[in-house]
Symmetry: C2
């Protein structure tokens, strides 16, 4: 299990909540202030900040404060880490199915090439 | 928030645990019995079955029993659902960066085309 960086725990956990996915969805269209992020969400600002902390701990979102405004943005590298993990397992499964298909195709042709005995 | 199917909660939650990712990793290389899945994991069979239930609830893993052996396999459609969600947000962000780059490129050329005034 050591070959899975602990960051993956935080990344998948961060994305397991619909409010946090809504925040990532909004930020994927461009940076936003915390208040702009909170605006469509039916929850208190402290609750939004708590979700933001989970997103920042995972590395999916980064924020910086300029004056009184904290601006949040997505880190595409974190999204790519998740995407790559999934994609590698999916393609591993699909390659295996391809090999199985080739094996079965070769196997079904064998009786035609050989004798009937 | 209604445009995010609840399955995404279960999918991301299922993948947020290193033991469950180890199980998905193993299954991405081919179907396995529960005991084969449990073999490299330093935990009791009931603990493994609990993780398996979380994976099955999310739809990532399906299992069927034949005689006394329960065989587990990955459902690539579930992996594709997660991959597509991430990929759409990442490409949305990257397209935005591309448009910003084009805008800035156009903007920086403007003084050369216009007068020096």
């Amino acid at each position: 299990m050591l070959n899975y960086p602990p960051q993956l725990d935080l990344l998948f956990h961060a994305l397991s909540d619909p409010t946090r996915r809504t925040m990532v969805d909004r930020l994927s269209r461009g940076p936003a202030s915390v208040s702009a992020l909170a605006e469509p969400l039916a929850m208190s600002l402290p609750a939004v900040l708590q979700h933001l902390r989970v997103l920042e701990a995972s590395g999916i979102v980064r924020s910086e404060k300029a004056g009184r405004v904290r601006t949040c943005r997505v880190d595409p590298a974190a999204l790519r880490t998740v995407e790559a993990w999934i994609s590698e397992r999916r393609t591993s499964w699909e390659r295996r199915l391809d090999r199985l298909g080739e094996y079965l195709a070769g196997h079904s042709e064998a009786p035609e090439q050989g004798s009937e005995s």
